[in-house]
Symmetry: C2
Subunit: 304 residues, 2 copies
């Protein structure tokens, strides 16, 4: 896939856009390698005799046709879906994309700076959801992105979704994120932790989706370099702490009852994504790639 | 449960409200009996040696507290959830409810006559979703309701969701609904069939949810009796044609591959309900009973 988008070569942001999207590609490669290593190193537990999984990559490209789709939006560009069904990862999708176009009029009013850009936007990001074989290994979501309208910003975050919670995991996950945030701005962790708690909340169940993490959006501190470095650090931190949490539990046996708990929690996860998740809404409402957007849904779930 | 709501005893509609809600209770009893009979008469196939299922009833009652809930709505009254996990019906929920209160200001603008009633409403209805053990037996949805604001109307419908389609089933289901509609008004079937096709459409998958049926709303022909009789006929017709379709297939064996097809289609069904279904949105946005609202979700589903 050609990661450059055609009609931005002359604007002042083209270099920054290229740096950001190149980073999302690099991070994708690093994470996929880390996850395949976890597939390789599993040594015990119910699935140890299975074959280690490998990611399958599938590019998608909408081209540069500049035609409004049936949502009224124009969406050019494309991305790459990396999907693995393994012995540690029951289903993990890692999506990267570089798209640009024009929001529908209705949608543009909800996006900062989109009115002033006549709906024109550029966006690139990485998005990842992992559903694990073992109910003892937490599921995870991570996403970072850069968006440009007449404004420009970074956003993203990561939140942990244990099916059976180990409090040490939760504490260490938050500690890693706090250290990451503190390297950039002491205000970030408390603010972004709270934003995460507020955002990943299943209103109809009156329950948080998981045990939190960080969530940030519209980050434009005045220094693009600082914001980009923070966003990179979130990705690197994720790629360190999550494999560490997986290794704590992936060789353990689990019970049928624990598996049932996992499948029911996955149902609640699916509810959140379909009813509340803004990324899902953004994707579906701009006529994005449905396969990539709904990759977050669990391989199997129960509503008993 | 006391099906009368307290503060309507003096309004001119109290008798009509009581007739309608009493009908929904009666229809519930009839349908539950029909479905338990299907559980009893299964005589072959993979689950024939299992015990016949029975409905479990669970009342819920919000009382008459007149306090706004966290959606800003006031919701008094209650309902009854009938749930069965059987050998024919993997999961079937039949809900009835009689509620009244006040819509939130935001929600009131979307409901006919609610502005003029200062958001006050009364609603009663029956709602049913059946997910079947056999992938050869179609899943089904049926719902009818009466709503009163400063206006009053009936709404509802039924749509068939085969996992593996038998064209004769689809034809006979539609024929039964056409005959039902034609008994009341020759315009109803073409109009309500088309409304159903338009409504039960999964926009992001660009695919209908099932093979259609009828959908109607805001029905106020000028004769409440006529509209009530039509709504009753929809319920009776459902209770005839659906058990007939079940009996065509429920004793057959099925394959693992057919079961997989079923589980994936159920995932799409869950997507529709959580992303698009107005009843689900209505329920969740008025602070309705989450357990009753989400009873429509499949017992198990896959997103491979």
């Amino acid at each position: 896939m050609n990661i450059k988008t055609e009609n931005n070569s002359t604007d002042e942001w083209s270099d920054k856009k290229e740096q950001a999207s190149a980073w999302f590609f690099t991070l994708r490669d690093q994470i996929c390698a880390s996850f395949e290593e976890l597939e390789d190193t599993l040594s015990a537990g119910p699935h140890a005799s299975r074959k280690a999984g490998r990611f399958n990559r599938k590019p998608w490209d909408r081209g540069q046709n500049n035609e409004p789709n049936d949502t009224g939006a124009i969406l050019n560009g494309g991305g790459e879906i990396s999907l693995m069904h393994g012995r540690v990862f029951e289903k993990v999708g890692v999506n990267i994309s570089v798209v640009e176009g024009r929001f529908s009029d209705e949608f543009a009013t909800a996006i900062p700076g989109a009115k002033e850009s006549n709906g024109q936007f550029w966006a690139s990001g990485i998005s990842l959801v992992a559903h694990m074989q073992s109910p003892l290994v937490p599921a995870i979501h991570m996403n970072t992105r850069m968006i440009v309208t007449s404004k420009h910003w970074f956003g993203g975050g990561t939140d942990l979704n244990p099916m059976i919670e180990f409090q040490q995991d939760t504490a260490d996950f938050h500690q890693a994120l706090k250290e990451c945030c503190d390297r950039h701005n002491p205000d970030y962790y408390p603010e972004y932790k709270e934003w995460c708690d507020r955002y990943f909340y299943n209103q109809h169940r009156k329950a948080p989706r998981g045990v939190g993490g960080i969530f940030y959006d519209y980050l434009d501190s005045g220094s693009w370099d600082d914001d980009f470095n923070f966003t990179k650090d979130v990705g690197v931190t994720f790629d360190t702490i999550y494999p560490d949490l997986v290794k704590r539990h992936y060789n353990k046996d689990w019970t049928e009852e624990q598996r049932e708990t996992q499948l029911v929690k996955r149902g609640h996860y699916a509810e959140f994504n379909l009813v509340y998740d803004r990324g899902t809404q953004f994707g579906l409402k701009t006529g994005g790639n449905t396969e990539a957007i709904l990759m977050s849904l669990p391989p199997i779930a129960k509503w008993p």
